[in-house]
Symmetry: C2
Subunit: 338 residues, 2 copies
DNA sequence: CAAAGTGATGGAAGGGCTTCCAAAGAATAA
DNA sequence: TTATTCTTTGGAAGCCCTTCCATCACTTTG
């Protein structure tokens, strides 16, 4: 059978409390006893039973992460930031991955009642008001990542600012006309990116021109953020003939890839005929030389875990609400010229 | 305070053992008592404390997964298969991700002693003999994924067969000359893929021609499986001038991407001048129309977890060694013509 | 009708730790 | 010296379950 704290205590000739204190680095232990215990621990090759510790301490040193079935680079990088930070703060990470909506609810309620994790990260998923309420009332630590809710802590990227950066880049390069291709307007990021686009135009005294704006409301899949939608949307802009825009800000890289294909199919060149900026900085973007807006994904994971664990350990200054927005970064490649 | 099994027992007017039996679906409970208990559980909104269950049962219903810091699609898909299968078998998944080698050892020894997980998956990582020994002796369930060791269960893809498929495809299309670009020969998959290539050639009575084989031994990073290495290697083949190969099997997609660039830079066409097959089926492969060998990645995760949990639960027939090889699948796109 | 068997139930013990309280010992003050 | 305070230590109780054993209420059998 496995060696327990009692074996160590007997071997070292001390009480179990003393052994426990040594393990937990309690200060009030004489160096002599401490080293006796340490020797016994080494001799028996003892390691505390984590599960028993969790039960007694009412702390698992584990955080949960509810994340939609991770496709794409974004989630990989996010997970990397989360994992790395958790490990560095001596926490383990349990992954709950969500296939469909009902799944999410199950995980939320499990997390809340099983007490298997000290806190939870909810990534890219909406949370109902009554669940939010429960977490809030029970003081169960939760941080929303790439999402938001009135009563809960959240961290996300500043979509408006990112869209502004992209648009300003095109303005700065002197393009006379700047179109925008957006996702479905019912999606939150799509609306925010539109707002940033409009804001940048307004700041430079440019009017928003309805005919230069295409929302992919016709495309269902992935809220319009997909290759085909970008392709179709770009066709519409190119159909303007002479009035076609000189440059376009596309609200996601994957749409931009589709848009670029549409441009090339008409024998137009990028950026000489039409300049393109994307959003996201997916892996493909580098390959096709797409200038785009990079989200600080790894960082987001890190900040989220830091905050979550601060809440778990009741660090001071946690009452104030935490609504962090991280700023994006423009990655300049070849698709805009300049 | 949280509601415990005692509260439920009192409310239902039964003993705690009875409540426990209801929770664990023990058969010998009358329907009447069972429903009384169920009512009480519902009324109190009771849910068992997972940690306490783990301690009492000496089973955590959790598996660990030690995985190198997941870059690339391969790990995403693998993780998807692992996660999905674990969830469907009522197990949670703890992710230990490895940044560097020492990290791996730490996780291995923690897993072994902390008893926080019932079993562990070791992905794409080598394991020292003495650790393998320890797992073996202690009967601690472990399954190697995309790796191997004499005394441990393992599951991986059949690299030899995959390389044969790729080479045979080129042979079948009638290409007179078939070169190969490989990773560093010190890497195991590189050697296996070479073996498959040679085997296919031999089966069709073709000689292995040293001058048509380039191993990327000059490239350090990622065992030679990277874009630049592929680019350089292809240059060498193209430098053969008139004797340059009519087709080439590249041992990874990422190298193939580099190779394709080298081909295009000499104003040669794919597949009209040089046909290319890759290996891996990364996301980019589809985008560039690369014919390639797809690994059954998700499936591998699934099989691994199935096996691991079978071991944990001591299903019969586990003594025989388990060394599974999954077969690859050729994905035909445009880079080979035909 | 008693004896033996069957099935459902209660609850103590045990899983391995932390923590609190009391006690012993050491150090200081009077 | 004795009284007082401070440190260090031992170990019981508690964290919340599962499981085993004893018990009790019925059946069945002879």
């Amino acid at each position: 059978m496995a060696v327990t704290i009692y074996d160590v205590a007997k071997k070292a000739g001390v009480g179990i409390g003393t052994v426990s204190r040594v393990i937990n680095k309690s200060p009030q232990i004489t160096d002599a006893t401490k080293s006796r215990v340490l020797v016994a621990i080494k001799a028996l090759n003892y390691q505390p039973h984590t599960v028993a510790q969790s039960l007694a301490r009412r702390r698992t040193n584990t955080i949960g992460c509810i994340i939609p079935f991770f496709t794409g680079f974004f989630y990989l990088e996010l997970l990397r930031g989360i994992q790395r930070t958790a490990t560095s703060l001596q926490n383990d990470l349990i992954l709950y991955s969500v296939d469909n909506k009902s799944n999410k609810e199950i995980f939320l309620s499990r997390v809340l009642k099983e007490r298997r994790v000290d806190g939870v990260l909810l990534v890219s998923l909406e949370i109902d008001d009554d669940y939010a309420e429960q977490f809030s009332v029970q003081h169960f630590p939760i941080v929303l990542v790439d999402g938001d809710h009135a009563v809960l802590d959240s961290i996300k990227v500043d979509n408006i600012e990112g869209a502004r950066q992209a648009t300003n880049h095109l303005i700065g390069l002197g393009y006379p006309t700047i179109a925008m291709i957006d996702g479905q307007l019912k999606s939150v990021p799509a609306r925010l990116r539109l707002a940033g686009y409009k804001q940048a135009l307004a700041e430079h005294g440019r009017a928003f021109d309805e005919s230069y704006f295409v929302a992919c409301d016709f495309a269902e899949e992935a809220d319009g953020f997909n290759k085909e939608a970008g392709y179709v949307a770009m066709q519409r802009l190119l159909d303007l003939g002479d009035r076609r825009p000189r440059s376009v800000f596309v609200s996601s890289d994957i749409q931009a890839i589709g848009a670029m294909r549409a441009i090339r199919e008409r024998s137009l060149r990028i950026p000489e005929d039409v300049a393109v900026v994307g959003f996201d900085d997916i892996e493909l973007a580098e390959h096709v030389g797409l200038t785009t807006v990079k989200q600080p994904t790894t960082r987001m994971g890190q900040v989220a875990v830091d905050r979550l664990i601060a809440k778990v350990t009741c660090k001071p200054g946690l009452d104030k609400e935490f609504k962090q927005k991280l700023t994006t970064e423009l990655v300049i490649r070849e698709s805009c010229g300049g």
